[in-house]
């Protein structure tokens, strides 16, 4: 949630008269929803409903071990979707993000396993590969002027070939167990104590940001969100995180004596959290982020305002492909190997779906990095829950496709609604 106030005069007057600011805020929020600005509501509601349905239908869904799996399974898609948000905000698309992650994962695996590089070198080169790919795609879109759909569709095909070539026509390169850092990304867990410390730090930091910004705004006599809302937000975050921490800190190993203890929050969770915070800051609180929104909203207006539109476009593709590389590294860790299918099949559609389900518009100009995480969670829950229900693969595909279509319809309809007024 941004701290930007959207208080209308009615609400402001009520607040000034010392009347119930909380009610005014909620009324204002309702007004916003009716105006077509649904925000995170569909994704959160969908997530809750899906979780309840699966938990009732399959008790094994709500077990600690499956909840931990949800995080690790969803991570690669979430990370790729975070990068895609930047491209989608411009009203562009990157269809090659999936195979970009595959290429970068292959580079990582070759350097680690075949060449025996240290993890940091391999990770650096892998991400640099993603950056280079983003530069190329961005250049072709922004400078040459080819529609991004075509550029990235071509890249989608070409990178599929590149992965095959890198992996010598389809062999599978495993990440050896001695690569502890890479393996740890998706297969290690924080100690319970560290997990609680993490939850504490996140909640305190969130509260501090909210309160400081509220005080700053009231100090300048600007309208700000009522204290009750800020309290609800902080408490809500604390409760949700605590519940997850409590569940994940339970013993998940069937027989700790033999298989070893298995408990704690997956390492990937704080990594996702850091990426989420960093990219949200970039998008919401920097000049660059503001310009991304402006170019997505009205390219001509952005150009007249002196914004270097081409540079913004290229940067968005660079961020997208670089994040795809990070997603590829996480996928490699998850599978402990890289094969020609890494980043292939449905990864891209899941990532685009994640962003759109989360509330990022395909028309550009509207979206948040948080959308990628929320939508990624929805996708992961559908995927995981349907697997547990024992549905065939085809049902999974059809359902996920339908959810993506549903989210895109909501996007299109809410856009029409807000343009009518």
């Amino acid at each position: 949630m941004s701290t930007v106030s959207t208080t209308t005069p009615v609400a402001a007057e009520e607040a000034a008269r010392g009347e119930n600011a909380f009610l005014a805020y909620t009324r204002n929020y309702g007004r916003k929803l009716r105006g077509g600005d649904l925000g995170a509501l569909p994704a959160v509601a969908g997530l809750v409903v899906l979780c309840l349905v699966f938990a009732v239908a399959r008790p094994s869904f709500a077990t600690p071990i499956n909840i931990a799996n949800l995080f690790t399974q969803g991570a690669p898609v979430m990370v790729i979707a975070m990068g895609l948000v930047f491209v989608l905000l411009l009203g562009e698309i990157d269809l090659s993000a999936g195979f970009t992650s595959g290429v970068c994962a292959a580079v990582l695996a070759i350097l680690l396993t075949n060449e025996g590089w240290p993890w940091y070198g391999a990770v650096a080169v892998s991400i640099a590969t993603g950056t280079a790919i983003g530069l190329l795609l961005g250049f072709l879109v922004a400078k040459v002027g080819i529609p991004s759909f075509v550029v990235t569709l071509a890249a989608f095909l070409a990178f599929q070939g590149v992965v095959l070539k890198l992996l010598k026509e389809g062999t599978n390169i495993s990440i050896r167990d001695n690569q502890t850092v890479i393996i740890a990304l998706e297969n290690e867990y924080m100690t319970p104590l560290l997990g609680w410390a993490f939850v504490g730090i996140v909640v305190v930091a969130f509260a501090a940001v909210q309160i400081v910004s509220k005080l700053k705004r009231t100090g300048r006599r600007l309208t700000s969100d009522p204290w009750q809302i800020i309290g609800v937000r902080i408490a809500g975050l604390a409760v949700v995180l605590s519940v997850f921490a409590a569940i994940l800190n339970q013993e998940r190993s069937r027989n700790p004596a033999i298989f070893g203890s298995l408990k704690g929050i997956p390492i990937i969770v704080p990594i996702i959290a850091v990426l989420l915070v960093v990219w949200t800051l970039v998008l919401k609180r920097t000049r660059f982020g503001r310009h991304v929104y402006a170019v997505g909203g009205n390219t001509e207006a952005a150009r007249r305002a002196g914004i270097a539109v081409d540079r913004i476009r290229i940067s968005a593709f660079v961020i997208c492909s670089s994040m795809a590389a990070v997603g590829g590294i996480i996928a490699a860790s998850n599978g402990r190997s890289v094969d020609p299918n890494t980043g292939g099949s449905n990864v891209l559609l899941y990532a685009v779906g994640a962003a759109v389900i989360g509330g990022t518009s395909l028309f550009g100009g509207r979206g948040r990095v948080l959308d990628a995480v929320l939508g990624g969670a929805v996708v992961a829950v559908i995927n995981n829950g349907m697997g547990l229900m024992g549905f065939d693969a085809w049902v999974k595909f059809v359902v996920t496709g339908s959810v993506l279509l549903l989210a895109a319809s909501v996007d299109a309809l809410s856009r029409r609604r807000s343009s009518v007024s």
Binding site: R220, L222, R285, G297, A301
Partner: protein, 260 residues
């Protein structure tokens, strides 16, 4: 509104020529804009109004001709030079981003920062102050998205955006073309207020009622020439229409041999 002893012109153009290939769009145009006045720029389609405005704002470079700001020679080679001289344009098609709020739009491209982070409170404060300074009461919250505003409110925001930058000359390209009656009145009131606040305003318009309602002077372009630049109080509707359509009216305007 017009004073008998006019202030020295804020902007003066002398002998401006501009061609696009073989097409001679502006011919020896002289144009004067004074602070505290609304100068209406009128002319038929293709008379060169937009080209002239784009030359002033630095989007086009002139072939020949001289610019003077406050009587001193000025060189405008690009939009940045124009902005540096305090020249701001409000475009006909409103250069606003629907997905951003009023503050974000007003500061677009010139955001204030503290460190790496945007300084939202100070931008919001200044935006609110600017709107209040223009006595804008139609906009309820500066954190409203522009998509939720009416046409008149949008135009208001676009004008406020131009005023925000300590601008001295605001050029409005048909600001009321797409507006209803009430909204047009609002915007014209705002235009008048800009001039009363001491700014120089150039208003491009096709609507004679509008021109006579708010302008202090009328400059008429006819086929790329400045037919006449006169005080609004000195001419009638019919005379201006004649200037626009024929380039002259009685002794005013281009001489017959010139006009051809």
């Amino acid at each position: 509104m017009t004073s008998e002893t006019p202030a020295p012109p804020l902007l003066e153009l002398r002998g401006v020529n501009k061609s696009f290939g073989p097409v001679h769009v502006l011919r020896d145009v002289d144009f004067t804009v004074r602070a505290g006045e609304v100068t209406a720029l009128v002319g038929d389609n293709g008379a060169g109004k937009s080209t002239l405005v784009k030359c002033i704002s630095g989007i086009y470079t002139t072939d020949t001709g001289e610019f003077y700001m406050d009587g001193e020679r000025a060189h405008i080679h690009g939009p940045r030079d124009a902005a540096h001289h305090g020249i701001e344009i409000v475009y006909q098609d409103l250069a606003l981003c629907d997905n951003l709020d009023i503050v974000q739009n007003m500061f677009l491209g010139r955001e204030r920062k503290s460190g790496l982070i945007l300084d939202e409170p100070s931008m919001e404060q200044l935006a609110a102050k600017t709107l209040a300074g223009l006595s804008v009461r139609t906009v309820s919250s500066v954190r409203q998205l522009v998509s939720s505003l009416s046409g008149g409110q949008r135009q208001t925001v676009a004008i406020a955006k131009a005023v925000l930058w300590n601008s001295r000359l605001v050029i409005l390209d048909e600001p009321t073309a797409a507006l209803g009656v009430a909204q047009t009145a609002q915007v014209l009131e705002l235009v008048r207020r800009l001039a009363d606040n001491g700014l120089a305003v150039v208003l491009i318009s096709h609507n004679m009622n509008e021109v006579f309602a708010v302008s202090d002077r009328i400059a008429t372009l006819y086929l790329g020439r400045m037919a006449a630049q006169v005080k609004t109080t000195d001419v009638t509707h019919a005379q201006v229409v004649e200037l626009i359509t024929a380039g002259r009216t009685g002794t005013l305007g281009l001489q017959p041999e010139e006009a051809l």
